[in-house]
Symmetry: C2
Subunit: 593 residues, 2 copies
């Protein structure tokens, strides 16, 4: 059973990604280290004792559509109520609307824990947090006053309605229509698919944010507007009024996160209400809907990245526990009678250490992104610009690296369990099934890679990424200077990886500068993985340098060495794909028919 | 929908792995190229038109235990009947018992196609083929005459009963008991788990092969005997007699291959029959049961490898079809109006080409193993010894590389489908779920790696593997001499991979020779992957050299180049893990707690 790794999380925030710098900026008042730790401990308790025990029934029962209503699994509505009551929904929300305005680093740390407990649960509140952010940033004061207090308290949830059958990665072609009405409201007509928690029984009302197109809108992505469409209209006194003309038509049958209802939503077909059309209110300006979405895209992508971290952690814990208990054969150093625990086999140790290193690497990358987002909040001027670029650079990495890691680590977790891993009762299979959506939604990892090379490397003309690589090199120098024998060849191996990163980065900047776009695009995914592996190696080394005196210093040094000497040497092959792979890829296009 | 790639399969057998050499040996009479092609074509038709269409219902309904009887999905029993009627069960079985005694290469080619159609279907017959082989090789004439004709015709199926709850990879500790009776029969008592098709409604009788321990047996793996235990006793006239005291207690709830009943089998608890104990007949000698199993282990492991190839092929076909039809965004070279098919995006091309190259590499490795098994049959003396070593060397690779590939390729297949890949209706998710068992059963891939380095590299004192690497180098020289521009840097890249393979092989041989066993074991899995990647590169190049004149020559050259320039450069990092990775792995053991 999952146990929230509060100390590992707190260590990472404090010693790897820089929580202290954020707290020290004064913006968060009397939020001390101790208080931050206490908040994480309480979240860990809730995730361990309340969320995780409901994961299995959530997977088995799944969300069901009964007589037009979505029924969540037994006990899940109560879980949500206790979770909201605990104030977890309001952690990073504005104080003005009842939120606690805590650092983003604490938010994502709690997201990790909810998702480790049950990813199908955590995804709902995650989207509500995104909806709150969009409304708080772009909506009118009237809308904010009417909706935000109840969304922040958790009394109502939100949903994000973007995708249509022919319009997923490319939102510019969506067809859902919006019509203006004289009273300043709009009517929405269309179908949305893959709408997570579009309908459920957690809350009385659901606040849908819907992308749609006005009749006179420009074609493409510049003609899309964002609307607030509540399930029930809200009276001026805050009570619920008439049912809006919006409903869940069907649920998808998915490979995992069964408890999370994935809805096909129908807007404005006349099923509800006297007049056909779902009543909506504009958020932001007409035709600027995508821009409204983009402002919160960083946070949403990071939130999905946390799902990857969460799956990694849960799978690693489960595998280590199993490998300690399951006996089979005799490991080479085993002195006991009879069979040894399988953790005594070097091949099993390799799997477990790989899982542990990848997990901690993914966590560090994601938290570093959250740290950058916090730094944007606590700085101004050029500093703020710097941190905004850092957040922008890290976002595709924080989404893609942990979510790919979730697939890889949960697969290793199944393997460690042997035949029992393929049987649903151990839960290893559930993590493997749950993990597989995260590299897809909120922008596929291929799209993240294209964003990374096309928009993020060129920030400040390439100076930002070069500076970042310089910071990583400084860590490697610190490792070298530490002369700590436990680091083995860590510094040498990391130096190679960073030289590889230099070379691939410069090649991509040059290729794009010279208009060789197809060539650059060919290397996007290998580059992203290369960057992620390198960050994993460096962040683990940084953790090894911390000397926290908590009895885990040697173990962290050893894990950093394992990553450096066993995992990251792949960067050279990946760099080779980036700088030399495009020609053969183009030539082989014909082999695809 | 899956369409059997008969021409690709036949090309591989003929030009990559050497079907001609086997046919030319005279052992298979008038079996010509044309006849072999005709057999494969008919199998392809059956797999495409009969098996594949039942995959989805098989997954949805699964096998169910109803009133003690296992009900397979709607239509599956009829499918099995038509399949057996077509003679597919008897393809490689001895002629003496009604088999067709065709080359193993044709058998595995058909196994690929059945598994691509529906892995949950193919696994049942695969195990029957294994049971036939065990009985034909080791049982008494009386048992052979009584059981084999009906098993070869498909009238009865077989099952393999090895695993117990505490005894999986380590069979030496199994507890199922066998007691001698005066009439020469035995009584079996115990519980077996994970018994594939241990009970079903395909056939009237099921012939269980069961590993058990006699009361006076030596401890460990030298005290295990093999027994034939039919579901119904068989009268002397061949008709069915009393129900034996063996039954399916429950079915496992698995992540995939839902249609395949995975049974917990109870032997001898008195549920059936007057006297407690399941009646069994000894196969081979007492206490030599594991040796009987080992003789067919090569074939069984190869058969599981074929499941990996099969999933790769099915997933690749599905992804390419989807990528041609689904439009989204505009690829960099797209000249058409509106959105392009996603196959126009380089990142998608990279995924599809990776899938295609890995698939063809996995197929080549598996077929090369089948070819070696055939060569054992058609040669004698030193030649036969050589081919037996080749089959032994290739077996762990033929099991592990394609099954790991199945996981990797089906995961890419899900990714190409985007959100639709996570929805069960496309079938991409089913392939991903089905694929995950193959790296586990019939010896985990970690155990294959240990077998590879511990038992197979040392064959003939290392001379066999060195000779094999020499053969691979000769292919690379042929590529170099061909001066074909389409090969690009293929020869150079392959030469590096082969030098890496030399180095890692010699390091492992030396380490084991010097008793540094834990160090060698630490590198087993990276070495296995390294070997597989190298073979993939070389076999694709060999295919590129074939000049078959079928209009696909250039595409094969281009695919070989893509593999050489984009996939196999990882071998250098893997070699580094083998020769330099053990120390950091051992040092990090403490990080696992």
């Amino acid at each position: 059973m999952y146990k929230a790794p509060v100390e590992d999380i707190f260590f990472t925030l404090k010693h790897v990604t820089g929580l202290d710098r954020v707290l020290g900026a004064g913006r968060f008042g009397d939020l001390s280290d101790d208080l931050a730790h206490a908040i994480l401990s309480e979240a860990g308790r809730f995730a361990t004792e309340e969320v995780a025990p409901l994961a299995e029934i959530g997977d088995k029962q799944g969300a069901r559509l009964v007589d037009g209503k979505v029924k969540t699994p037994d006990g899940w509505a109560g879980l949500y109520a206790r979770w909201a009551e605990g104030g977890w929904n309001s952690l990073a929300a504005p104080e003005e609307f009842g939120g606690q305005a805590l650092p983003h680093q604490l938010l994502v740390a709690t997201l990790e824990m909810w998702n480790s407990g049950a990813m199908g649960f955590a995804i709902g509140p995650t989207l509500t947090i995104g909806a709150i952010e969009a409304i708080a940033t772009h909506a009118s004061d009237a809308l904010k006053q009417k909706y935000l207090p109840k969304m922040v308290s958790g009394e109502w949830m939100g949903s994000m309605n973007l995708t249509e059958p022919h319009s997923g990665s490319d939102l510019g072609v969506l067809k859902t229509r919006a019509e203006r009405r004289d009273d300043g409201t709009y009517r929405i007509f269309g179908q949305k698919i893959f709408i997570t928690y579009g309908e459920h029984d957690f809350t009385d009302n659901i606040v849908h944010l819907v992308l749609a197109r006005l009749p006179d809108a420009p074609a493409g992505s510049r003609g899309i507007s964002l609307f607030l469409v509540p399930k029930f209209l809200v009276n001026d006194d805050g009570s619920l009024g008439a049912r809006n003309d919006a409903y869940c038509h069907s649920l998808e049958h998915k490979m995992g996160i069964h408890a999370s209802p994935t809805c096909t939503m129908i807007y404005g077909d006349g099923k509800f209400g006297a007049e056909k059309g779902a009543v909506g209110w504009l958020i932001g300006e007409e035709n600027k809907g995508l821009a409204c979405m983009f402002t919160m895209m960083n946070n949403a992508r990071l939130a999905v990245g946390m799902q990857g971290v969460a799956i990694c952690e849960a799978a690693t814990q489960k595998a280590i526990l199993y490998a300690r208990e399951r006996t089979q054969g005799r490991g080479p150093g085993w002195k006991g009678d009879g069979m040894s625990p399988i953790i005594e086999h070097p091949d099993v140790q390799r799997m477990l250490l790989t899982m542990k290193a990848i997990t901690q690497g993914a966590r560090s990358i994601a938290y570093a992104c959250a740290h950058a987002i916090d730094m944007v909040e606590v700085t101004s001027g050029a500093d703020r610009g710097f941190w905004q670029e850092r957040a922008n650079l890290l976002t595709p990495l924080a989404k893609s690296i942990p979510t790919d890691a979730g697939v890889e680590v949960s697969s290793l977790g199944v393997q460690v369990h042997g035949g029992m891993g393929y049987i649903e009762e151990t839960g290893a299979a559930r993590l493997y099934r749950d993990a597989r959506i995260a590299p897809i939604y909120e922008g596929t990892n291929g799209i993240q890679a294209i964003d990374l090379i096309g928009r993020k490397l060129p920030l400040s003309g390439g100076a930002h990424v070069r500076g970042f690589i310089g910071e990583l090199k400084a860590v490697v120098e610190d490792v070298r200077k530490s002369n700590r024998p436990g680091f083995g060849h860590t510094a040498d191996k990391l130096a190679i990886a960073l030289a590889d990163l230099d070379e691939a980065t410069e090649w991509l900047l040059a290729a794009q500068g010279e208009g060789r776009i197809a060539e650059a695009l060919s290397g996007a995914t290998p580059f992203q993985r290369q960057f992620g592996l390198t960050l994993t190696g460096v962040y683990l080394a940084k953790a090894g340098l911390a000397d926290a005196g908590d009895g885990k210093d040697e173990a962290r040094v050893a894990l950093a060495r394992f990553a450096a000497e066993n995992l990251i040497s792949e960067t050279t092959a990946l760099k080779d794909r980036v700088v030399n792979g495009a020609a053969s890829l183009a030539a082989a296009r014909a082999a695809l028919g």
